[in-house]
């Protein structure tokens, strides 16, 4: 398959880079000072593209790759891929569901504990020698708090199962109620937020769910409420979030994703009730390898005429 050109959008995984290089003719998009020209030069060879949650394959790029047959995304979310165009042109799209569900759910709970129990602030308190001046302050209990989940897909369910072990009552919002759960359904995100202490974003990002957490939702969540976002930055109205936190209208936030990564609003840096992470939801050694193998597996399947492993389009 060495004559098959694969366009890798960013250096998000060195094992993946190495394997793609071994098995295909690899073109590295990010190394080019003039990417447009580079793509034009090699367009005839490029039959596959690999992007991730941050760097996708948009409509303009798709148009510039007439031989493109498949986009294999190193992520479960495919909001950075022009799916409509792929459908029109018969370009197949695959993603990496299931292998990262546990890690993302673990992080949602880890962020909740970090925000409520102020674990990072505690760590800084000890390391700065402040403990000799007196005890740390009181924080907020996590067990038993009402957890509201937006989106009860694989990740939402995994978060619910974990929160249940902490005796948290579980509420959720999704487009329609899910059968076979004991969790309480709310038909709108505002009602969900009004009845939750911790609101977790766990749905896919689509035009319908953009800014699903807006000012009204944040006000419903309130000055003691905490927002946890392990979905996409686009789910939350970020400027509104910043002012709600700075003004104390929202109690706290644990954020793994932002509207324009790696840019993060600096007004959040000084807030003890806010925990920020550099998009590490699936960021474990074990899971990233599984994701890479899934990307490779999908590409191999496509180019040997076998069924795709995890097809989206």
């Amino acid at each position: 398959m060495e004559s098959i050109g694969v366009l890798l959008m960013a250096p998000f995984n060195s094992y993946l880079d190495q394997e793609l290089d071994k098995r295909f003719k690899l073109f590295r998009y990010w190394t080019q000072s003039n990417p447009k020209e580079f793509v034009a030069q090699h367009a005839e060879m490029i039959r596959a593209a690999v992007g991730n949650a941050t760097v996708g394959v948009d409509g303009i790029l798709i148009d510039a790759l007439p031989k493109l047959e498949i986009i294999s995304s190193f992520s479960v979310g495919v909001d950075k891929i022009d799916l409509k165009k792929c459908g029109e042109k018969g370009i197949r799209v695959t993603n990496t569901p299931d292998v990262l569900t546990d890690d993302v759910a673990d992080l949602a709970i880890g962020l909740s504990l970090a925000v409520l129990r102020q674990i990072s602030v505690c760590d800084r308190y000890v390391r700065s020698g402040l403990w000799k001046n007196g005890d740390f302050k009181l924080t907020t209990k996590f067990s038993g708090k009402r957890v509201g989940i937006i989106g009860l897909g694989r990740i939402g369910l995994a978060i619910a199962q974990r929160a249940e072990a902490f005796d948290c009552p579980i509420n959720y919002y999704s487009r329609s109620p899910k059968p076979n759960t004991n969790y309480k359904y709310y038909p709108s995100v505002i009602e969900l937020a009004s009845n939750s202490d911790i609101l977790v974003v766990a749905c896919a990002l689509t035009p319908e769910t953009r800014h699903i957490v807006n000012r009204q939702v944040m006000e419903a969540l309130g000055p003691k409420g905490v927002l946890i976002n392990i979905g996409r930055g686009g789910h939350v109205d970020e400027p509104e979030l910043v002012s709600a936190l700075v003004e104390g209208r929202l109690g706290g936030a644990g954020l793994d994703v932002f509207e324009n990564e790696p840019h993060v609003p600096e007004q959040l840096f000084g807030l003890d009730n806010v925990v920020l992470l550099p998009h590490v939801g699936s960021g474990t050694v074990e899971t990233r390898k599984e994701m890479a193998d899934l990307v490779l597996g999908n590409l191999e399947a496509h180019f040997s005429g076998k069924p795709l492993l995890t097809r989206v389009v």
Partner: protein, 324 residues
């Protein structure tokens, strides 16, 4: 309780417990308080002159209620400690004198287990370092922050399967961890794998969560031998008492990369304000805050209040520690 000219019952307070200052006003409206920590007179003298008639005392989990202190309180019938741990109280003397001891019971178990889970996830997924990476403006794109390690499918060894150990097990199981444990006795009502020997537990585990009481058997039970058995990727979480771990050995193992990381809420000497641990990125440290939530403090206040009221009205007490 109205002041009718009848004197309020008197309680001597030792420590004081961290939360005492927050509830001091209300406490003082119901009881007369002998504050033993802020006197110019040395403690033995203070007790000799002021505490002969004191029947009940409140102590923190840190103040040492020694045989000497107990013998300075000839009228003592009740010790209320705000902790669950009892390593700071001379129980032999209590037994001899027929003194009742009450502790926190299980009211803190959830908060302590929550912190244990929080520390473990923080170490494995690098939450505190990640937060620092972003807030210090180091995030410039994909791949500039190291990967963490998965929880699911890993083996979690719990040392001490009491109420806290059980609460930790319940939580970590939901993350897909396999639960193993070592405890004084096997618990036949749980499906977790029991190890009679702590070294075998360490060899069989990816993480060790320390949930045991501190006593002569458990002092420094986590030593170099056990840490090496846990291994290079192993993580230790301590929410029990600092001396359960040989702290020098832990620091040495961390420096040499012989274990993977640690989440520590307790230390051999507290407060901790200087340590080689402060240079390490694979450790998360907290200032003995496992019970420091608004909810736990309120529950503690309600409990000790109820117990002192009950004591002075000859009613049954809660969370009496069996001394036999």
């Amino acid at each position: 309780m109205e002041s009718t000219g009848e004197r309020l019952p008197e309680i001597a307070v030792f420590g004081p417990p961290a939360f005492f200052r927050k509830i001091e006003k209300e406490f003082s409206s119901r009881f007369r308080v002998l504050r033993t920590w802020n006197s110019d007179i040395p403690l033995p003298q203070l007790l000799a002159s002021e505490a002969g008639h004191i029947e009940a005392i409140l102590t923190s989990g840190v103040f040492r209620v020694t045989a000497e202190v107990i013998s300075s309180l000839p009228s003592l019938h009740l010790i209320v400690t705000t902790s669950r741990g009892l390593d700071h109280i001379d129980l032999t003397q209590c037994r001899r004198r027929g003194i009742t001891v009450t502790n926190a019971g299980t009211i803190f178990s959830d908060d302590v287990a929550d912190l244990a889970a929080g520390l473990l996830i923080d170490v494995l997924r690098k939450i505190t370092p990640g937060n620092g990476h972003v807030k210090n403006r180091f995030w410039t794109g994909d791949g500039d922050f190291p990967l963490g390690f998965k929880l699911g499918g890993k083996k979690c060894g719990i040392v001490g399967l009491g109420s806290i150990g059980l609460a930790v097990a319940k939580r970590l199981q939901s993350f897909g961890c396999q639960i193993l444990y070592n405890s004084r006795n096997k618990n036949h009502s749980v499906p977790y794998k029991f190890h009679t020997d702590i070294k075998e537990l360490a060899m069989d585990s990816d993480f060790l969560i320390l949930c045991c009481a501190l006593n002569n058997e458990t002092r420094h039970i986590i030593n170099r031998d056990i840490l090496l058995a846990l291994g290079k990727k192993g993580v230790v979480v301590n929410i029990s008492r600092g001396p359960v771990i040989d702290e020098k050995a832990l620091i040495h193992c961390l420096k040499l990369g012989e274990i993977g990381g640690a989440g520590l809420d307790v230390f051999e000497r507290e407060p901790l304000f200087t340590s080689e641990l402060f240079e390490m990125e694979n450790v998360v440290l907290s200032p003995h805050v496992a019970v420091f939530t608004e909810e736990s403090f309120k529950a503690m206040f309600d409990l000790i209040f109820a117990n002192f009221n009950s004591f002075f009205m000859n009613k049954p007490l809660l969370n009496v520690v069996p001394l036999e």
